[in-house]
Symmetry: C2
Subunit: 341 residues, 2 copies
């Protein structure tokens, strides 16, 4: 079914309040989820709610927890303190924005966190406030190192965003070729996948989604190297768990995830007036748009533009939710007396 | 021929002094070039010296210029002021290191610069001084945007390095699949190349190195997105030239290159004691090494390790320089009375 974004946000907010979140926290969390759906990143949207329900019920996430924020110079150390990733990341972004206005640059390292939704949400938030944002997070291992047979690192996303005159350019990419979610969809629909997506148990690239047991890094050593950088910043530097030390959101219910994030805010005004910067970034966007496309029917887009188009369409037409997800969400809603719309 | 690294550095230093560089500047510049050769990145090594000779002769690079450094909070704006990229980047790294010791993090944006050698050199320098280093640079356009037919951005490298107990992990990658240098080698040796390297004039991927007129971004939209990030940080934010505004090192002798770099120094001590950090990063390295390899005869390496192995071998056996490059360097040496060893 297609459901209006606002309706979906209201429902998720009401549900999250029922679990103990304050009005503001519930609305923020719901907004991050529905924003992912609106941009077509459905794997990071409301489909996660049943897992949140279970992790909260198991006392692995504390809906009333307030992250601990420790500032030293232009760096911020955040201990999620049992809070969900979104709540911890919000504290990190707010603090980094404030510090970067004074120092010109600030970064926040977050430990003890959970999956925080899309990294791009926080990067775009920074870009909406006069900053260039870079956001990374480690995640549970599911990607083989270049030349390896078994998973070592997560899909370890990298996001960035910077303002333009029209809005912003933004990137939010996994450092693996594909997400595991796409492999699961191929399994469900009985389709083959490109041999660059993942490997079988022997470590050989496979086109059979049922045989794939771990993902491949994007562009081999490059994606592996970037994932390593993310693990260093998000995991090693923050004091969070690293590699197999991370708890799985869907499989480990005996321990917290202990995910780590790293968030950088670069205050543009310290380099040049924001209007000059956006004029320059807009010129680059227009150069990209003016590039002759390889296939005559497609134009060259800038990073973030495909997702912005999806968002515009979904805000108009509604968010498509597959029947099996609707069914799950209806059940969660019933269990807590908040009927799915 | 194979030539001892120290001998090559001494020769390049003597030559650079002859062109007006101070002893310290000449030695630094020579060291960055020979370090690239030692690590197997020969495209960024002494092969560049004849181009330096010409650009200095044409007054496009000033061997006596001192970069202008402007500090505001924890950010540094560097105007290369006619100096070579290495000299400008050195000023940026030194200033970022100093500021980051106080603020915990600092970044430097450099404008008006030239190709600065390998980005990894500066990242490793930072890692050798208690910091995590991230270094990017824009470069003359030679890579098509995802879905585009003509070049928009450069190979726009991203480098990072972080200390470990044994030394450091480091990454230095172009955001394109391949470097143009590799395409040129394939042309010279009459070999085909993978169809992921570049496109022909019609924008179609080609395996014929003679048909390739522009490179492809690594992993499509991911490499394109990362190159865009680099262009934003190195070009737009620094005030340097952007995209086609950049001068070509080898083709444009009527104007300076106006390359831009961006350098980030994260002082580890502000997050945890360096010894604790290196214990944690070393543990990650060892986890990687312990990962079962996909092919039985290869071990899983960490980023930077292949180049370190090449370096160890070349420092032992000498730096291999192809005959045609030796010939060119001999001629440069003769022109300036500094005989190639």
């Amino acid at each position: 079914m297609d459901i209006e974004a606002d309706l979906l946000t209201s429902w998720a907010t009401a549900l999250l309040r029922r679990w103990g979140y304050t009005d503001a926290d519930a609305e923020f969390l719901a907004t991050t989820l529905v924003d992912a759906n609106a941009r077509g990143v459905d794997s990071h949207g409301v489909v996660r709610i049943p897992a949140y329900e279970r992790r909260i019920a198991e006392n692995l996430v504390d809906t009333r927890a307030v992250p601990k924020v420790d500032v030293s110079g232009a760096v911020i150390k955040v201990d999620a303190n049992g809070a969900a990733g979104q709540i911890a990341a919000r504290a990190a972004v707010e603090s980094a924005l404030e510090l970067s206005r004074e120092a010109g640059i600030a970064c926040a390292a977050v430990r003890g966190s959970t999956h925080f939704g899309t990294a791009g949400y926080y990067a775009r938030w920074l870009a909406g406030n006069g900053a260039i944002g870079i956001v990374v997070s480690n995640s549970e291992p599911i990607v083989v190192p270049h030349g390896g047979k078994k998973a070592l690192l997560g899909t370890n996303p990298i996001a960035f965003a910077a303002p333009t005159e029209s809005d912003a350019v933004s990137l939010d990419m996994a450092t693996s070729t594909s997400a595991m979610g796409k492999v699961l969809i191929a399994r469900a629909t009985g389709q083959q996948v490109p041999d660059t997506w993942g490997v079988d148990d022997a470590g050989n690239p496979s086109t059979d989604p049922n045989a794939i047991s771990a993902l491949l890094p994007a562009a081999g050593p490059k994606g592996y190297g970037l994932a390593f950088l993310v693990e260093i910043l998000g995991g090693v530097l923050s004091g969070a768990a690293v590699s197999h030390g991370l708890g799985s959101m869907y499989a480990d219910f005996d321990r917290p995830q202990d995910v780590g994030h790293w968030i950088l805010a670069i205050n543009i005004e310290h380099f040049m007036p924001v209007a000059e910067f956006t004029k320059r970034s807009q010129a680059l966007v227009e150069l990209a748009h003016a590039t002759e496309p390889a296939a005559q029917d497609n134009g060259v887009l800038v990073p973030g533009e495909p997702e912005e188009r999806t968002r515009a369409e979904r805000l108009r037409k509604g968010i498509p939710i597959p029947d099996e997800v609707v069914n799950e969400l209806q059940q969660v809603g019933e269990r807590h007396g908040v009927a799915f719309p």
